[in-house]
């Protein structure tokens, strides 16, 4: 797709879930699952006369992110009103930030390094804004298009968000996904965002192809969907460009269920947000001392952790990067290692088996680590190291544990997974296989590579329990006997 000259920029909205209260009032930030309109006060309901007062912890959180993303930090925090009418916005303006006369975002000009095709790439961050979340609109028919009215719940109104905007430095949906994954990992490592909470991470993506116009896709709620939505758009736009159609500059909506983007209603006039510094919120000075203090307290960030994993545990660059891409995964790995050592084996298992199955079964990592606990995983490693099971069997057991939530020992014994390393037993099976596959035996006598087929047949007969190394050795020995060479 690279020949299409793709430019992608992302706007990521993330809730600072570590806060106890909203951005400008003392309502709880924990709005999920509450009955509608039970988590509001005069301030976040926009009642006449109510005034905002900023949550100091939200400023500290934004500064942490700014430092982690290597941004230039403004010496004042200025809030700006962004005006547009919409039923989920109780004041009909959003308290946000802006780069313009009298206004400045809390941080600008940073970057994130992502891994791309084995190399590293610097993606520039244009700015970070602190802003308030609007309320939530529920459509009585389930669809925006067919509902005759809306139902509004303001419980979410006023929740503290960070808007992180990248420059259009991304060149493919895969890079976009890598960017989100990396950003998410940074936010998790800072301890600010529980990204597994519904709606805690929302993305708007801007994409343009050479010869086309910029299209914005709104309302994407996962890294996976960012990749999907962008791939869909690239196909849609390149088809249009091929047939000589014009790609309009527009805003589209990602329909996560149908997996398509749909155009939003075209506005009669161009948006004019009439930004101006919010006079209810005079600028807050951001002192060097405060920045220094926050800098000193920054926890270990993903890049540092990757480095440490390589150095301390002797992991490959690849394993370390995948592990750290999700904080829970990296934490899980370290816990296992603490428990039973073997960092390389565990690193491989966590990345190649555990993570693979978790993704495939679409379960949350945080839940999966409670099923295959470090203790359980360490038991498997013990059995492997002591030849009770072989690596093939281990790979079979992991999805079963995740799927049935069963103890590993139970599975190993119930399913009779214990490794067959007894030479007599194995020889009996090998004899059977040799008898049943005369042609393969002939081949194997000429071509040593064809031995693998026979090993496979033994595995099949033992449902994988045969110790593969030993089996291999015994077959070769048997073949030598057959050919008569000493």
């Amino acid at each position: 797709m690279s020949n299409l000259d793709i430019k992608i920029g992302l706007e990521v909205h993330t809730q600072i879930t570590s806060l106890k209260t909203k951005l400008f009032c003392s309502c709880p930030s924990d709005y999920r699952g509450k009955p509608p309109n039970t988590n509001v006060c005069p301030v976040c309901l926009g009642l006449p006369g109510a005034l905002p007062v900023v949550n100091i912890e939200a400023i500290r959180a934004a500064l942490m992110v700014a430092l982690a993303l290597k941004c230039e930090i403004s010496d004042v925090l200025v809030f700006t009103r962004k005006h547009y009418f919409y039923p989920d916005l109780p004041k009909n303006y959003q308290i946000s930030q802006y780069d313009g006369p009298g206004s400045i975002p809390i941080a600008k000009n940073g970057y994130i390094v992502i891994g791309v095709d084995g190399g590293l790439k610097k993606v520039r961050i244009r700015r970070i804004n602190i802003e308030e979340d609007p309320g939530k609109i529920v459509y009585p028919t389930g669809s925006l298009l067919t509902s005759k009215y809306t139902l509004i719940d303001y419980n979410r109104s006023g929740i503290a968000l960070l808007e992180i905007v990248s420059e259009p430095d991304l060149r493919s949906p895969k890079e976009a996904r890598a960017f989100i994954d990396k950003l998410r990992s940074i936010l998790e490592h800072l301890g600010l965002v529980n990204t597994e909470l519904e709606g805690a991470l929302r993305v708007d993506a801007n994409i343009s192809l050479a010869g086309g116009s910029r299209v914005e896709i709104k309302n994407i709620s996962s890294a996976k969907d960012v990749e999907r939505a962008l791939t869909y758009e690239i196909i849609r736009q390149s088809k249009a460009l091929e047939t000589g159609e014009k790609v309009r500059r527009e805003t589209r909506h990602w329909d996560a269920i149908r997996k398509v983007t749909v155009p939003l209603r075209v506005k009669e006039f161009e948006e004019d947000y009439r930004y101006f510094p919010d006079p209810d919120l005079p600028p807050v000075k951001i002192s060097l001392k405060l920045i220094e203090e926050i800098y000193q307290k920054l926890p270990e960030l993903p890049d540092q952790r990757i480095e440490r994993f390589i150095k301390t545990y002797g992991l490959s660059d690849y394993l370390a990067t995948v592990l750290v891409s999700e904080k829970v995964l990296a934490d899980y790995f370290e816990e296992c290692v603490k428990y039973c050592g073997n960092p390389e084996i565990i690193g491989n298992i966590v990345v190649n088996d555990f993570k693979r199955w978790v993704d495939e079964m679409d379960i949350e990592v945080s839940k999966a680590v409670k099923i295959l606990t470090p203790n359980q995983l360490c038991q498997l490693v013990y059995m492997l190291n002591n030849n009770i099971i072989n690596i093939k069997i281990l790979k079979e057991i992991i999805p079963k544990v995740l799927k049935y939530n069963k103890d590993v020992n139970t599975i190993v014994y119930e399913e009779n997974y214990i490794d067959i390393s007894n030479e007599e037993v194995l020889m009996r099976i090998i004899d059977e296989v040799i008898k049943e596959n005369p042609k393969a035996v002939k081949d194997a006598l000429i071509n040593p590579k064809a031995v693998n087929y026979l090993v496979g047949q033994v595995m099949k007969k033992t449902r994988g329990r045969a110790n593969p190394e030993l089996t291999n050795k015994l077959i070769i020995k048997k073949l030598k006997e057959l050919s008569g060479t000493p």
């Binding site: 806060l19 106890k20 209260t21 009032c25 003392s26 309502c27 709880p28 009955p35 509608p36 309109n37 039970t38 988590n39 509001v40 006060c41 005069p42 309901l45 007062v53 900023v54 949550n55 100091i56 912890e57 939200a58 400023i59 009418f85 919409y86 039923p87 006369p101 009298g102 609109i137 529920v138 009585p140 925006l144 298009l145 509902s147 005759k148 009215y149 809306t150 139902l151 509004i152 719940d153 303001y154 209603r265 009669e268 006039f269 004019d272 009439r274 101006f276 510094p277 006079p279 919120l281 005079p282 600028p283 807050v284 000075k285």
Partner: protein, 96 residues
Amino acid sequence: MLKEDLKVWLERISKLSLIRISSEEEEIILNDMKKIIEFFNTINSLDLSNVEPLFMVLKDEPVVRDDEVGESLSVDEVLKNVKEVEGGFIKGPKTA
């Protein structure tokens, strides 16, 4: 200084403010607007390119808040002034 016809201007600004001007009001408003904009334009004679703007006069550091949970309104208080309620939700207009 307006860069467009006053009537076109009024239509654009009314759409932005979601305020419709009735035909009876239009004449008064256009007449007043013309005068007020001319009055505003008196500041155009000043060259202030080197002056910093002052948006707020507060000299102290503004009040900020600790991250502590306080009281929210009861649902009755929230819905007391709402005219159309459905299942605890506030009924709003269509968005498409």
